[in-house]
Symmetry: C2
């Protein structure tokens, strides 16, 4: 394990310090927990607050997505670990402008517990109305009939995008929650892992694979996938990932989608574009129209090797929200 770090115990705090120093016009750190980051810009009164968060190690998710048209604040956890309720609560108080706050987070036990506790405390202590949106886009993590048990991975990007744009456009809390839930409902992700990452504190690999093996459906903390096998050519991998998604969420000819081909950390952009090339071919053959494409590292697992494909079906409302501009330190859309 070779990493450009100082004391492994301080990686998250030092990362946050660097991040806030890099983008002082965009974000600021709140004083109490040193894990609570909010937009540095003045938020207008009566705007619904959008709060995201989760473990570190997925950068640019989640802290990179604080800014205009996306989230108003983020609670940052340790590597691959949920933030405790305190920073969530600190962010909530700061971004509550009287119209309530929506929490968006991936469906993991720790996050569910901590965001749940924060929501109760926010209600009790400040009377904040909290809406909750659980992200469950990972097709491989539970069967179709139990979508509510699925984990959240790269598709959270589209859920945040929809909620952030809706809040900026003046939607009410109920309406932001409702459209973010729709974005989650319309979003599916399938990943493939090639090489593990290692945690700074232990140096141990997050999973093990043979020299020429890949794992389909691997989770983004190294949770077991649905199938290990020999590494296939990129086109066959893309075929498999897209097929799993379409089996789970049929998309008809003429429908419009947004597509994200996401690198897990150490995968080159060259490989991601080669994967996207095949994804586009498949969808195009089926008459499915790609309205907007995203290719890059949007939700990583430290330096894990591999990628995921996310497809979000777009109705008119979601299309408008996906097209809405955004200005965050780690994601800008004009």
């Amino acid at each position: 394990m070779k990493k450009l770090i100082n004391n492994p115990t301080h990686v998250v705090d030092e990362m946050i310090e660097g991040y806030v120093k890099a983008f002082p016009k965009h974000v600021k750190l709140l004083p109490e927990n040193k894990r609570s980051i909010v937009t540095a810009k003045e938020t207008r009164p009566e705007k619904v607050g959008v709060l995201i968060g989760g473990g570190s190690g997925h950068e640019p998710a989640f802290m990179g997505y604080v800014g205009d048209g996306m989230a108003d604040g983020v609670a940052v956890g340790n590597i691959f670990a949920s933030p405790p309720p305190d920073p969530i609560l600190e962010v909530t108080k700061e971004i509550d402008k009287g119209a309530g706050v929506v929490y968006i987070y991936g469906n993991y036990a720790g996050d569910v517990m901590n965001f749940g506790m924060a929501a109760e405390l926010a209600d009790l202590e400040y009377g904040t109305n909290i809406g909750t949106v659980l992200v469950t886009d990972d097709v491989a993590s539970a069967p179709k009939e139990e979508k509510e048990k699925r984990r959240g991975i790269a598709g959270e990007f589209f859920v945040t995008k929809a909620a952030g744009a809706a809040a900026d456009k003046g939607y009410s809390l109920d309406d932001v929650v409702s459209v973010a839930k729709k974005a989650n409902e319309y979003t599916r992700t399938m990943g493939v892992g090639l090489t593990p990452c290692s945690l700074p504190q232990t140096g141990k690999p997050s999973f093990e694979l043979e020299a020429n093996e890949m794992e389909i459906g691997l989770g983004h903390h190294g949770e077991p996938g649905i199938e290990k096998g020999e590494l296939q050519p990129a086109d066959r991998v893309a075929d498999r990932l897209v097929q799993e998604i379409l089996n789970d969420m049929p998309i008809g000819s003429g429908e419009k989608v947004a597509v994200l081909v996401n690198g897990l950390g150490s995968t080159t952009q060259m490989e991601l574009y080669i994967m996207f090339r095949r994804v586009e071919q498949i969808l195009s053959e089926k008459g499915i129209e790609i309205h907007r494409s995203y290719v890059g590292s949007y939700s990583t697992s430290l330096e894990m090797g591999g990628c995921s494909v996310t497809i979000t079906k777009l109705d008119d409302e979601l299309m408008e929200l996906v097209d809405y501009p955004a200005d965050c330190p780690m994601y800008v859309q004009r």
Copy 2:
């Protein structure tokens, strides 16, 4: 070597195909060479054309930087190899709107030869006025007295940014060349390598280092650096990189700079922010003001591990050009 590719011989063509399919509103492929990409938007008459290019494997450099406020076109070479004159010429012809075209490329023998030949042919065949800007930001690659012999690495981003903004603002060819040369003159980069990349066709590592070694000043194709040694804590590495830059290009208290902490491919954003944290501390202690920060993978070497620090001194003109908006598939600034 585990890569998500098909036939190793076709990686560059398939990458380009995927790229152009992903961003059809932004870029288009020219028909002759299949290695010539230009902006899909209508360029206004009399705007100076900005042409970039070089070997593949550095994505998002160079093809990701075609768009409003950056380059009008790019000629794409094989991995770590200069594009031949033909695609350069094809792009030149397409983006020549009567005001001339500026070529911006890194100082490598192959690029110098091929862009030079293309410039001669463009003049002969189409009467296009060509301006040339060689990027020479890599401090480690030649002594201070021979800056013109230095290689170009991540700092090319700022040279392209300055030229692209200047051209968009209506500068003449001579003035675009002049401000881009100033940006190069005011830019220094120092890198550190931790782990090699491997080329898709050979599978061989681009250099060799022991398990706990780093190499200061390593070039972005694996060219030897100035010192191999034991991997140091991030703060010490940052100290060293910044010191080398400041020794080479003194920056006084009160001066303004742009800073890029660039990942070489497989380095996590967490590490880059930890590095940025220390860079900011050093500059801040010296009274140097960071006007704008960039942290991420802006110029990679496939999946190489390590990073580079680039500092560009900003006078009023360069500050205005750095702040100018840009809209490319792989880089957006509002």
